[in-house]
Symmetry: C2
Subunit: 280 residues, 2 copies
């Protein structure tokens, strides 16, 4: 459970750190970023998890997400994991950005060659929370989660599969129903095999159909997002939430695309929304 | 005077664009970024120039500088030029990050092989302002300028050499006296030749010593900046301003380094400071 500090930088009155550790879950070194806002000595702070999208590492949102000002103002720790295992000996499909490194999809793979390392669901819900609890001034009784695209999918399934753990869940342009979207279905098949019943455990719409519930959801989605109709399909989440009685606030943001220019625009608003629930 | 749009993205209610054009000053294609905040049709908005530091392009501050929220709130256009000419036929010193591409130092080079393309002073003070005036809803009677490191140096000399053009000037960790700093002196010699008299026209401290004046200056400088003592030396600017009667607000920011984690922390504050003067 030791972590190595790769870099520390003061920012917005707090500390943006990057850390590595040898993951017993993914069986490789893993890197993650943590922003600790300014706080009184001895204080324990709520934790907001941010899961990133396809092709990203921990660094993209750390550099482009513009989360530190709001996190500092609200006194919330932000944890940004990587999106997959990486490195020597880790299976990859280098010519396919939707499978392998950068595309862990937050599942625990069961199929060769992926099962050896690709256990991102257990990594972000078990191993990394234990590391955060042990190494940062974190109040693990107050956690929330959000993410973007593949990471929005990740946030939704982590919250749906762990009722009561997260005070709140939100997403930017999430993949709502990955098992039926062309850009994500091949990854689920590669990681989980041909039996689609196993895919339903990692699919927000399917989890809701199968009975999982959340007290509420907040989703922002750009109308100029090139992945909107084929990959993301917020209407499927909206329909599932309506059927299940889950209050969903789905905000279609006129003219916004899928980029960090979109994410950063609504970042402070999401952090404020989570902070209200983390401090209630 | 035609520009080509490379990308447009909606962000913080405005538009972040990236553009290229064939520069008649630098004799190569040049790329720059412009953020236009939300505004009423027909409105003309003040322009705030941001000059970037060594190794950067237009993209670094666009991605990591966190300027859009404040620029949108204050209704200010932000223009981010590249830091040098680039491309086929442009002289470079690829193994030296302090000379050539990414290191134009905002001078008009007079020496071979640099003089053919390296005219960044004329580029950012003449050619690009004309393009901005012609292509964006810009009120060129209301301009201000700031920058970081080499770009802080650039902002200072542009303001000092053009009295009355800029309503205000500020800098993050500027190179205050490049002709005597080891990391910048070789570039000035390469670009401008051995006669140090010509260097003084592109050196903030020397310009002030030689009579240039500004109504006021704002500088933020991190105390944990690894370039502080040898490269940046804010005390030299402080001494020159004191002798010249220029009111300088020099804020030593405890624990901050030279990175965008530092810049982004104080970005909104600088934009608010400029906006107050642009709208006065």
């Amino acid at each position: 459970m030791t972590i190595e500090t790769k870099s520390l930088a003061r920012s917005h009155g707090g500390t943006q750190g990057v850390y590595t550790h040898n993951s017993r879950t993914c069986h490789c070194p893993m890197t993650f970023a943590v922003f600790v806002p300014p706080h009184e000595p001895g204080a324990k702070l709520p934790v907001l998890w941010y899961l990133s999208g396809l092709t990203c590492t921990h660094a993209n949102v750390m550099e482009k997400g513009e989360y530190r000002e709001a996190a500092a103002r609200h006194g919330v720790i932000i944890v940004c994991p990587d999106t997959s295992p990486r490195g020597d000996g880790v299976a990859d499909d280098p010519n396919n950005w939707k499978l392998g490194c950068g595309a862990g999809f937050y599942v625990d793979a069961t199929e060769a060659p992926w099962a050896s390392n690709y256990a991102m669901y257990s990594y972000v819900t078990e191993e990394l929370p234990a590391l955060v609890a042990a190494n940062f001034p974190a109040d693990m009784s107050r956690q929330s989660i959000f993410g973007h695209s593949m990471g929005g999918h990740g946030a939704l399934i982590c919250a749906l599969k762990n009722p009561g753990r997260f005070r709140s869940c939100s997403a930017f342009a999430p993949i709502t129903h990955p098992m039926t979207a062309e850009w994500s279905r091949p990854a689920l098949e590669a990681y989980l095999g041909h039996n689609q019943a196993s895919w339903r455990a990692y699919d927000a719409v399917a989890l809701i159909e199968d009975g999982a519930r959340l007290p509420e959801l907040l989703v922002d989605q750009g109308t100029a997002d090139s992945f909107l109709q084929d990959g993301l399909r917020p209407q499927l989440l909206s329909d599932a939430c309506a059927s299940a009685g889950i209050p969903l606030t789905l905000r279609m943001q006129e003219g916004y695309d899928h980029s960090y220019f979109f994410i950063s625009t609504f970042m402070a608003d999401h952090i404020a929304w989570h902070a209200g629930r983390l401090k209630a």
